[in-house]
């Protein structure tokens, strides 16, 4: 059972999906630029606190930090995960296929927090262990979906491609990867969504990102901080997720235009 497949087919928002990324992004920008000037609104949440606007760092810089960590991790995971899955489905690496498939599905039962927590003793505090943890954990859905996508390509189609005289590289490039692309993209979407969330928890191990205001809010009992962090990060996640949704839509319509 692939969680991302169901999510796709039973998708959100009806016909006019196209505008959602823009809507979420606009709201995100509103949060990032609006909160520093929204003293009054935030004050109503937390009338007694001496400070309601989070000022240790600007939301914009935290957002950039967050995006940086997630993007670095995403690039490494996507390249590594897809390459690994391709390697074990080729003639030369096929020996490793059963084990990699097992590990990829078993590894997803590991809670991301536990993976993050285990990365710290090994690598220390800061941004690096977070990136490593995100890479390790985010690799799994991508490997699993890439494997699934490549293996689901119809045997007849692959056999026809070989029989027409395509080289292994041509079969991979022109047939297998394009046909597996929607499933691979679904895996990347799952991976990135999890990573945005896990990176925020990374604020507890000394990384600077959008998790910071939330943690600070919880520690100081300041609801206004929490709202600033939580809304911004939620909108970031929604923006990215809806972008993926849009992208998947495009890919599918390009694969099977009617």
């Amino acid at each position: 059972m692939n969680p991302s497949v169901g999510r796709r087919s039973l998708g959100l928002h009806g016909a006019n999906r196209a505008i959602w990324p823009a809507v979420w992004f606009a709201l995100l920008m509103l949060c990032v630029w609006g909160f520093p000037h929204a003293d009054g609104v935030l004050r109503s949440l937390e009338p007694d606190a001496n400070q309601v606007v989070y000022q240790r760092a600007s939301l914009a810089s935290l957002l950039l930090q967050h995006l940086f960590v997630v993007s670095v991790a995403a690039v490494v995971t996507i390249v590594g995960g897809v390459l690994a899955a391709i390697a074990v489905t080729r003639e030369g690496g096929r020996d490793f296929l059963p084990m990699v498939a097992q590990v990829a599905s078993l590894g997803q039962t590991f809670p991301p927090v536990a993976v993050l927590a285990l990365a710290v003793p090994a690598l220390g505090f800061g941004t690096l262990p977070i990136i490593v943890a995100l890479v390790l954990y985010g690799m799994l859905p991508i490997v699993r979906n890439t494997l699934g996508g490549l293996q689901d390509v119809d045997k007849d189609i692959k056999s026809a491609a070989i029989a027409m005289g395509m080289t292994p590289w041509q079969v991979l490039r022109q047939v297998e990867l394009p046909l597996a692309a929607p499933v691979i993209l679904a895996g990347i979407r799952t991976s990135v969504t999890i990573n945005i969330s896990t990176a925020a928890i990374g604020a507890t191990v000394g990384a600077r990102n959008l998790g910071d205001p939330i943690i600070a809010g919880i520690v100081n009992g300041n609801m206004a901080y929490i709202v600033q962090g939580a809304l911004t990060i939620a909108l970031l996640a929604l923006t990215v997720d809806s972008l993926f949704e849009r992208f998947q839509e495009r890919l599918r319509s390009r694969l099977y235009t009617s």
């Binding site: 119809d154 007849d156 189609i157 056999s159 026809a160 491609a161 070989i162 029989a163 027409m164 005289g165 395509m166 080289t167 041509q170 022109q174 047939v175 394009p178 046909l179 694969l255 099977y256 235009t257 009617s258």
Partner: protein, 321 residues
């Protein structure tokens, strides 16, 4: 020319194909017939090296196939399979142009070839070129499959139950078209099917296989007249064998000159098969038909007595073919 000499394919301890020898002359249409699992598809797939053979020699144009580079070899052998194997993410035109593009033809040449083939196979270019495989009917998809296999003008065409998934009417239509194409192009065709009627209809040379071995091979007529094995006989339809044989014979080979009597009421074109003639006799309650040419001019007559007499096997003559 394709020659298989003592070819064996073992999967583990099981011999899927067991010591078969076969020779297919250039331009001939050879059908491999048998029940499923008899090794006929495996045999076919060994010819373009989709499966490596375990023993024996497969020789194409005087060279053992191991001597060829597999990728280049396959680009020179057309291949058609039951479920078409068309690439779902490519248009019809792009699918057909696959092998020419692999061979680095110029874009204009590819385009010209694609259009030529689409016309040849009755697929109007304007209507179909930009369509995707999932928008085609089964028959149309298989036409595209055949066009794709023919695109680089290969000498050899391998077909693995190409019409197996089609409804009977479409199947018959495509069989006719394949005969028409073959009469024009003279490819060396190896055709796998479990449908004996299809094989009888299309093939010059019939190879009956069972459990990885060749039970009998020869021309369709030879097999019909002398099946050397109950299995072959049952495949050939047992009691209906006579009718199948009649279907392979033209009326003009059995007609006699017009007799002195009045011409019979029922008229049949000379190009029809004997089977159709017999059917007309049954329908019209007569034992005599007037044979006409394409302009409906009587050219002879067909009598039941003569057909029955000539259907006796003429042993010496049949063996050779």
């Amino acid at each position: 020319m394709i020659e298989l000499a003592h070819v064996t394919k073992r999967f583990g301890d099981v011999a899927a194909v067991d010591d078969i020898s076969l020779r297919i002359a250039k331009g001939k249409f050879c059908a491999l017939v048998g029940t499923s699992g008899c090794g006929k598809s495996t045999t076919l797939r060994m010819i373009n090296r989709l499966i490596a053979h375990s023993d024996g020699d497969i020789i194409l144009d005087g060279q053992p196939i191991d001597a060829y580079d597999p990728v280049k070899l396959r680009r020179r052998i057309g291949y058609v399979i039951q479920h078409t194997g068309l690439f779902p993410h490519w248009t019809v035109a792009r699918n057909i142009g696959l092998v020419p593009r692999l061979l680095k033809w110029s874009a204009a040449d590819v385009q010209a070839k694609v259009e030529e083939l689409m016309k040849l196979l009755g697929l109007p270019v304007d209507e179909f070129a930009a369509k995707y495989p999932h928008q085609l009917s089964g028959g149309q998809a298989q036409r595209v499959g055949v066009a794709r296999a023919l695109a680089a003008d290969p000498d050899i065409l391998l077909m693995d139950e190409p019409f197996g998934a089609l409804d009977p009417i479409t199947r018959e239509k495509l069989q006719d078209e394949l005969s028409r194409l073959q009469a024009r192009m003279h490819k060396t065709v190896v055709f796998v099917t479990h449908d004996m009627d299809e094989a009888l209809r299309l093939a010059d040379h019939l190879v009956v296989m069972r459990e990885g071995r060749i039970v009998q091979q020869g021309s369709p007529l030879a097999l019909l007249q002398q099946p050397n094995d109950p299995f072959v006989e049952s495949l050939l339809g047992g009691l209906e064998r006579g009718l199948k044989q009649a279907a392979l014979t033209r009326i003009k080979d059995h007609m006699s000159p017009m007799g002195p009597t009045l011409p019979a009421q029922s008229r049949i074109p000379a190009a029809f098969s004997l089977r159709q003639g017999l059917s007309m006799m049954l329908r019209d309650h007569t034992d005599r038909l007037t044979v006409v040419d394409q302009h409906d001019v009587p050219v002879g007559e067909l009598t039941l007595r003569k057909i029955v007499k000539e259907a006796q096997p003429e042993q010496g003559k049949v063996r050779e073919s």
